[in-house]
């Protein structure tokens, strides 16, 4: 039979090579002979196994069994998957309970929490109705996630309490499990709110950017004062007796990317259960990184990854969310046909009860997709999806990372392409290198026999 190569990519590291099967997200360790064969025959458009020498044939049969060689004619050009919008149950809803904020973060994509609108709060009726829509829209799903978001959600505790109460009522009525999470700047935490969070098992993500100088430069209050000491003063109370995870969510501007390690260990020392680090979204041209910035960022993540592996070898999982999530996906071989759940199982609701594709696109009227009274507008969502994925087929079709990335963040692409006028794919190189780092770390952990530890990560991505 005549075979042709399935898309694959080889990562060579000291002491071996890893072969990534693009279509399935499969990872294989290969020896030098296989590596040599791939460099010799990998460029051939078609191969007749019967005509190859015995030794080569043996290896090629192994590659065929690994689905890296496929019968000619079977291979199809990668194309975006057309998912029927209404067919996916709703599993996550983000409530913009307060579209106002008491901090004035320099990089805020929500324009000071208001999303470019008049500062406003969600009323309790809207909060309850949104929770009910989440439950109804979840159909046969037995677990859903409710995210309390803003602005600063603690500015509107009435809506927070109403949403949590409604979630608990609906959970009792339907038997569904509702995970509740709250994203806050933590500056308004007090013992009463902390008790409420503990009592209702709410997972908390605190936006905190690291040591005082970084935090205060990035996240000043309305009069320009620092926010670090106020927040850290409340942390002990929140962490002590926590009934769900308390994570730090870091945003760093390009000039701070060389400080990633320091930021991570600072937040770990504060006692956070997890730390996730995000490079800032370029809401203004000056926040757009250059190649050197990206290099610093990757260096920072690489050295954290080295510490992560060293800790893993002593039986400890370093709580770096970015890497843990990636390793979990790589371990399972999870592939994506869409870049995220926005518009499918994931929607955001603003203070007026309007649906948006995701929390980051709130206020962008072209991404408004219905409202609480009429429900999500599947036709509009479908139209938006077609527009934002337009041209990707061509660009992503030949990329080895396409099944891991599937086009990247809609909001980030929107900013870069529409607002900053940058060509499509400006963040692809960085994204590929990040995935490569993950694959290398994964292979090293596997080769070090850390299977049990990797198994523990499975639950993070298992549906």
């Amino acid at each position: 039979m005549i075979y042709t190569w399935a898309d694959h990519h080889i990562f060579t590291v000291q002491g071996g090579a890893t072969l990534f099967g693009v279509d399935h997200g499969s990872l294989f360790s290969i020896d030098e002979t296989t590596q040599e064969l791939l460099s010799r025959l990998g460029g051939k458009l078609s191969l007749n196994l019967a005509e190859e020498s015995g030794a080569d044939r043996e290896i090629l049969e192994g590659l065929r069994d690994a689905r890296l060689l496929v019968p000619e004619g079977v291979k199809q050009k990668a194309r975006p998957v057309d998912i029927e919008i209404g067919s996916v149950p709703l599993t996550t809803m983000v409530l913009e309970v307060a579209q106002e904020c008491n901090l004035r973060c320099t990089y805020c994509y929500a324009e000071g929490g208001t999303y470019g609108k008049q500062a406003n709060n969600m009323d309790t009726g809207t909060a309850r109705a949104a929770v009910r829509q989440l439950i109804e829209g979840s159909r046969d799903q037995d677990r859903v996630t409710l995210v309390l978001f803003g602005g600063e959600p603690l500015l509107n505790m009435a809506a927070v309490r109403a949403a949590v109460d409604e979630a608990e009522i609906m959970s009792q009525l339907t038997g569904k499990k509702v995970f509740i999470s709250l994203t806050t700047n933590a500056s308004l935490l007090d013992s009463e709110i902390i008790d409420f969070i503990h009592q209702h098992r709410i997972a908390v993500a605190i936006s905190l950017d690291g040591p005082a100088d970084v935090q205060d430069a990035n996240r000043p209050d309305a009069v320009g004062g620092g926010s670090y000491s106020r927040i850290v003063g409340q942390l002990d109370g929140l962490l002590k007796g926590a009934s769900a995870a308390v994570a730090a969510r870091v945003t760093l501007v390009p000039e701070q990317w060389s400080r990633i390690e320091e930021v991570f260990f600072h937040l770990m020392d504060l006692g956070f259960h997890e730390v996730g680090i995000a490079p800032v979204s370029p809401i203004r041209p000056e926040l757009l990184p250059n190649a050197e910035h990206e290099e610093r960022l990757l260096e920072g993540f690489s050295s954290l990854a080295r510490v992560f592996v060293a800790a893993a070898k002593t039986g400890r999982i370093l709580p770096l969310s970015n890497l843990i999530d990636l390793l979990a996906r790589l371990h399972m071989g999870q592939t994506k046909s869409v870049s995220c759940g926005a518009g499918y199982g994931y929607l955001a609701v603003d203070v007026e009860g309007k649906f948006y594709l995701c929390h980051r696109l709130v206020g962008e009227e072209s991404f408004c997709v219905g409202n609480l009274s009429g429900g999500p507008d599947a036709e509009k969502i479908g139209g938006i999806m077609k527009t934002i994925t337009c041209g990707k087929e061509e660009m992503c079709g030949s990329c080895w990372a396409r099944t891991l990335c599937s086009g990247g963040c809609h909001y980030e692409n929107h900013l870069r392409e529409k607002l900053l006028g940058i060509h499509k794919g400006s963040s692809c190189s960085f994204i590929r290198r990040w995935f490569q780092l993950g694959i290398e770390v994964y292979a090293e952990m596997k080769n070090a026999g850390l299977d049990e530890m990797l198994k523990k990560l499975e639950k993070r991505v298992k549906c």
Partner: protein
């Protein structure tokens, strides 16, 4: 040579693919003539020469297209093995059950 030494599954997906391959057996095997050309030998009943008549005026007149190919070129590398499935008598719903012969030929009964 032990194939396992050359390529080893690392992640769960790769393990699943390997497990799939382990249980794979060839469901069909082409008959070959044993020459260097590896020419197919014989044909199955479902690939009976069709009934469609050849409208050509030349010889062999009135014979079906595939079998005329057989007459005209059935030696060496000119052997013509790919008769069409018979859509008139044996498989009248050919288009429905076998829209792509390369993919769906197992569905022909």
């Amino acid at each position: 040579m032990n194939r396992k030494i050359c390529i080893k599954a690392l992640n769960e997906k790769a393990r699943a693919i390997e497990a799939l391959a382990k249980n794979e057996t060839r469901s069909v095997e082409a008959l070959e003539d044993g020459t260097k050309w590896k020419m197919p030998v014989g044909c199955t009943t479902i690939f009976d020469t069709g009934w469609e008549t050849n409208p050509r005026a030349s010889s062999p007149v009135g014979n079906c297209q595939p079998s005329s190919h057989d007459y005209l070129g059935c030696a060496g590398d000119c052997w013509w093995p790919a008769q069409s499935p018979d859509g008139l008598t044996n498989t009248p719903e050919l288009e429905l059950i076998c829209s792509s012969i390369a993919r769906d030929w197992r569905d022909l009964k």
